[in-house]
Symmetry: C2
Subunit: 407 residues, 2 copies
């Protein structure tokens, strides 16, 4: 009986990555009218914007400040966060998060991690109890000796099952429809499996089953997706996210997908350090290989039941994202500049980034604190070396000795 | 009783990579006097050279042509192939290959593949029957629908067991002692194992056991290394090759180590093609990831018993060498230039490389011919796309469609 209803899709967030994903979703809902309602709702944090001088829409609006949602819906362009990219007309911006999620069976979360908690508070109670989610939020939350995936935070707060999407996906390049790939981690709850039509109405997902060290055991009572919707499984997510320029691979390992997007930033700093010394491609490749090794070890140690080593070594969310981040992007660039100029990375954050903080720096610090708390620094020489270089306790020249297993 | 004798080491070949490896070997034989004779012999293909104008040794020799071996032994520098790098005084060049291998229990092969056959003819009958070898020769031989590893060729011709060394090892960077890593593939013959002191005197190694498609079954009768030598195993190779700037990892998968060094060159061309289009880091990372996937598939298909997938995904001979080759080197550079200029790669070989052939081009062609012969082109879309682009049958713009699994 599956398939009488169609899925309503909502995307929560509209930065450059949120708008890019919104574009992809809307392209696909238009193509797969058997599975999805055509209109995709995009929640936009409302703000008054000035149309940039060089925008082709400048003449239409002039100098007067405009509501961002109004401009997106009238011009089909996010002139502030994704300028120059045409968005499908069936991607509709709304400033009201409860209106965005109303009746939406598929919720795609794509906003900066610092806003996720408050946004979930606004959604709670207004969403379908049987909705399913995908978190496109990069990284993981590490605090108090606990690693929390944003997908888990969403599960806990909203009581819905949520997977994760990550990959070598620099937003403007995806928006420009340049060939790339991504990985979706989604471990379909048993009650939703095609083969399980006589499943129980409710299912408990124990969030802490995935973790070795979480102190707060949490479980979520899931509501099954009603049988008259198309099954929410790997195939459906592929239909919703795949484009001819955007290849999607769905795996079950949600934790690995999320961890890859976090830990790669530490390795990117190390790649920047050795690039700054002009040690060449051999050395950078060695750093990347050693980095993958520590990512695997991190996953195995703290998510032994759920992490699959191949997520790191064979998926876009692992090796591809790591390689792209070590070849380009702010972390590697800033670390390179710091070494070239003989200053600390903090100095580069101040002088070249207007005080903005690099993701790699905060990740290196929190991961180091986490490893130290668990007495595991000795197993992660590269991660720890990056932190110690950032803190001025080690030098880039020390890397060969710090990374040599035969000391 | 193991250990009364010491190993004599010889390196066959003295190009920039041969001289670099010779330097490493001689540094280590000097440090491990319990395991090795101090002197390392390096066979040099003798030639008359002119000392370069900018060499610090120019004043000593002036304009007169000199024997290369004489200059190496007097200046401890290979002024022609590795200028500017000091070689240890215990690395001794000899133009006589039979003198080089005499009494040598460890033979390190490091010369261009086109010279290996003839050189082995010169060695045959002059080496110790129980010698053990490591081939540093990049790549594999593909012809007549048969993949042959150079280590196998050495085994067959000399009747000695031989492993392989490969990794992200651009020679001048290793010679300059910049941090990098390598992988040695060596599957210690049972008769040489520490645990097997009462082993048979002779052991048959069936070369074709590793291969799915070889038509010519070959086996080699091995002589055991006498018990009064230090055991020839992973630990010994690490002692001989590891330096504080050169990390060595020994694995059993000889075929994977050799295949990685060959197949990466095809992927490097693809990386150059998309770089030439300026498709960005996402796309290059996707090409690398898809490339690793096809390397694994190639290994699994034709070396199902011997290849270990992790050699490609986790070793320097796999992912690290691939990443380094996609970021720098002649293959990626030439392919990038070709696309930027809107010409074929053959044109770049003519105009920018004095007609020298790129390794990636010949590998792409022979691998394509091999896949075609076995009816397997459909399983290797990236390898085949590279060949078709080289032959003008496909365009770089076709890559997204050619690589998309959902056609």
């Amino acid at each position: 009986m599956a398939g009488q209803k169609k899925h309503q899709v909502a995307v929560i967030g509209s930065g450059n990555w949120g708008s890019t994903i919104g574009k992809i979703l809307a392209e696909n809902t238009a193509e797969h009218s058997d599975l999805f309602h055509r209109e995709v709702r995009m929640w936009v944090f409302e703000e008054d914007i000035n149309i940039p001088e060089d925008s082709k829409h400048r003449s239409k609006y002039g100098d007067a400040p405009q509501k961002l949602t109004k401009v997106i819906n009238e011009t089909h362009e996010n002139v502030k966060y994704l300028p120059g990219i045409s968005l499908p007309e069936n991607l509709v911006a709304t400033p009201d998060v409860t209106a965005a999620v109303k009746d939406a069976s598929l919720l795609i979360f794509n906003l900066p991690h610092q806003f996720i908690g408050k946004t979930l508070d606004g959604i709670k109670g207004h969403h379908l109890p049987y909705a399913r989610g995908i978190s496109c939020i990069k990284g993981v939350d590490v605090s108090d000796g606990i690693v929390t995936l944003y997908s888990e935070l969403i599960m806990e707060k909203l009581g819905i099952y949520c997977g994760a999407l990550s990959g070598a996906n620099i937003a403007p390049e995806v928006a420009a429809e340049r060939l790339c790939e991504t990985t979706i981690g989604y471990d379909t709850p048993p009650m939703d499996l095609t083969s399980n039509d006589g499943s129980p109405k409710h299912n408990l997902v124990k969030v802490d089953e995935q973790r070795q060290v979480k102190t707060k055991p949490t479980s979520v009572e899931l509501h099954p997706v009603p049988q008259d919707y198309p099954h929410v499984d790997a195939e459906l997510w592929e239909a919703l996210f795949s484009r001819p320029y955007f290849f999607v691979h769905v795996v079950k390992d949600v934790a690995g997908v999320a961890l890859g997007g976090a830990l790669k930033n530490i390795v990117a700093l190390a790649a920047g350090f050795v690039s700054g010394k002009q040690w060449g491609e051999n050395t950078k490749a060695a750093i990347i290989r050693l980095g993958v090794g520590e990512m695997i070890r991190f996953g195995r140690t703290w998510f032994p039941k759920s992490v699959n080593e191949q997520t790191f070594t064979e998926e876009s969310a692992g090796i591809a994202d790591l390689v792209a981040s070590c070849n380009g992007g702010r972390n590697v660039r800033s670390a390179t500049h710091a070494v070239e100029k003989g200053v600390g990375v903090a100095e580069i954050e101040k002088t070249e980034m207007n005080g903005q903080k690099l993701q790699g720096v905060s990740t290196a610090q929190t991961v180091y604190g986490f490893l130290d708390k668990h007495g595991k620094t000795g197993d992660f020489p590269l991660f720890c070396a990056v932190n110690n270089i950032l803190e001025g306790k080690a030098k880039v020249e020390d890397l060969p000795a710090l990374l040599n297993k035969k000391k």
